[in-house]
């Protein structure tokens, strides 16, 4: 049996979680997931500005904090912290934590191969809309294939203490050590499915252990010290989800079920680079305090394609807010919204979209929100977006004047004009898997 934990559900997750995991109890592998869908485009820009950047900058200092435990306890680290520059990431890790062996998995970055792929007849159509990439090719900022767990397992075979990857399937981080330790092969579909499903449960960190869990949330113990999830995996494909003793949160059927259904499509066909997992095949069992067992996983052969996530420049947006107090807070905010829209129209400005929310009344749930008779205050929140930057810039000047020239009691404008933000949009597509060639390099 091996123990695989996840200490980071996204870049920006709790900095203390990985440290608490290596100090809080037995562990064989620690995985860290840093890459959200649009993170890669931010990292591409950073690398353009400085060829030594383009990776998750939180990662090397974290390795330095836990280097002693990695060495003394033999815990191995697997992280997609490499972003678009895994080599630079490895270099910085070795500078801050000398003496640890670092392996890097390369090959997910397709940015330099896009034209070659398109010339070869790959249209790189958007999975959601069906449009070919040609229409936005010049605006593309990053292109990365989701690679599977086998290249990561190959990196573990080098004996590395730390494996750094760029884009990989989230669940691959946890599946790789199982392939490495148990000798699973690409045809072990049911075993791979078991690993993928367990990996899916832990990939969002504390969302498996009581975080963001609706079920009786008021009784969740000690959010402040919530334990991050650990898989106890055996070679036969039985998985238990657990957490360290004396930590907050909880592992129950409810917390595991909520994470199982999180961000999935067809549960019979959960697509990964290594296997198509069937979430309807598994059985869950309450296996003692803070322990849930997953058995019976079934999988089907992996797809012939790999998912590629591209990002491209889309346009610009800005969101501004003003607060109105009672009495008549909502009525005042409605009038203010009308005033802003009228002034934008008088200026002849056109937007792809203007969106208004009355925060405290309907921002999250729209018409489904419970009626509030007389809110103490309402935040007017107006957002605009457009392909052109100029109208968005001009919009950012139109909110604060209402403090003096609109309905009474406008306040909460202390942050000044809202910033104009670039919209980098996401373009999911597929490529035949043989178009993506991975390789492992050991940094020594």
């Amino acid at each position: 049996m091996i123990r695989i934990a996840n200490g980071q559900g996204f870049w920006g997750d709790w900095l203390e979680a990985p440290v608490r995991l290596v100090n809080g109890g037995p562990l064989d592998y620690l995985t860290l997931d840093y890459l959200a869908e649009v993170t890669m485009s931010i990292l591409q820009k950073q690398r353009k500005a400085d060829p030594n950047l383009g990776y998750a900058r939180d990662f090397p200092p974290l390795v330095a904090r836990i280097a002693r435990q990695i060495r003394d306890q033999g815990i191995r680290l697997i992280a997609n912290a490499g972003g678009v520059n895994p080599i630079a990431c490895a270099r910085e890790v070795r500078r801050l934590a000398p003496g640890l062996r670092v392996a890097v998995v390369l090959g997910d970055d397709l940015m330099d191969h896009l034209d070659e792929l398109m010339a070869g007849g790959h249209e790189l159509r958007n999975i959601d809309t069906g449009e070919p990439l040609a229409g936005v090719r010049s605006a593309v900022q990053s292109a990365n294939a989701y690679i599977g767990a086998f290249p990561l397992a190959e990196a573990l075979r080098t004996g590395a203490n730390i494996v750094i990857t760029g884009r990989c399937a989230d669940a691959a981080l946890a599946l790789a050590p199982m392939i490495h330790e148990f000798g699973w092969t690409p045809n072990d579909w049911n075993l791979l499915a078991a690993g993928v499903i367990a990996g899916h449960v832990i990939e969002c960190g504390a969302q498996a252990t009581g975080g963001n869990c609706h079920a009786d949330w008021q009784s969740t113990p000690d959010f402040a010290h919530i334990g991050y999830p650990i898989i106890e995996a055996d070679s036969g494909g039985t998985m238990a989800i657990a957490k360290h003793e004396n930590t907050g949160g909880r592992v129950t059927l409810a917390t595991v079920k909520e994470q199982l259904v999180y961000e999935i499509g067809d549960p019979r066909r959960y697509m990964t680079p290594d296997v198509i997992a069937d979430f309807t095949s598994i059985q869950l069992q309450d296996d003692g305090p803070d322990r849930v067992r997953i058995t019976g996983a079934e999988g089907r052969p992996r797809p012939d394609t790999l998912k590629v996530s591209l990002s491209y420049h889309y346009g610009w947006k800005a969101t501004g807010t003003l607060v109105y107090s009672a009495p008549d807070a909502l009525a005042k905010a409605r009038v203010a919204d009308d005033v802003v829209r009228q002034r934008l129209a008088d200026l002849g400005l056109q937007f792809e979209k203007i969106h208004t929310e009355f925060f405290g009344v309907n921002a999250c749930h729209g018409h489904l929100a419970p009626r509030v008779a007389e809110p103490a205050e309402v935040q007017l929140r107006i957002g605009v977006r457009d392909r052109q930057k100029a109208p968005v810039e001009r919009f950012t000047r139109e909110l604060i004047p209402l403090v003096l020239s609109g309905p009474p009691t406008a306040t909460g404008y202390g942050e000044g004009r809202p910033p104009v933000r670039e919209i980098v949009a996401y373009w999911p597509t597929l490529v035949r898997r043989e178009m993506v060639r991975t390789r492992v390099e050991v940094a020594e």
């Binding site: 079920a215 079920k257 909520e258 199982l260 259904v261 925060f359 921002a363």
Partner: protein, 111 residues
């Protein structure tokens, strides 16, 4: 009698591009057939109204006593494009739990 779905289920929601998915899980396994009968894709689509512009597809997970609703064009363009506070559909699960369903006293009383 009419009850809110929250009396029989819990939920979690998230995003993939402009798609929001809501997993609805029976609080007791015995409630699952009621969810299958009451919480149809059509009713979910009608419940969300203008918040969800595209198709709603329902998938069944009887082994977890859960349903998964995949809602297209549900996030004003999704992630970075969306102007909504809840651009990732994080609160769609809670919103779906306000759906009113019709159950008998017997169906609710199982314990």
């Amino acid at each position: 009698m009419k009850i809110p779905l929250s009396q029989m289920a819990h939920a979690r929601s998230g995003d993939k591009g402009d798609i929001s998915n809501v997993g609805v899980i029976a609080l007791l396994p015995e409630y699952y057939p009621v969810l299958v009968r009451e919480v149809t894709a059509e009713r979910v689509k009608a419940h969300f109204g203008p918040l969800v512009k595209g198709t709603v597809t329902r998938y069944e997970l009887p082994n977890l006593a859960a349903l998964n609703f995949v809602m297209e064009q549900a996030l004003d363009g999704g992630g970075t494009i969306s102007l909504r506070t809840d651009a990732q559909g994080k609160t769609h699960g809670a919103a779906l739990l306000t759906l009113e369903i019709e159950v008998s006293a017997d169906e609710l009383a199982i314990d």
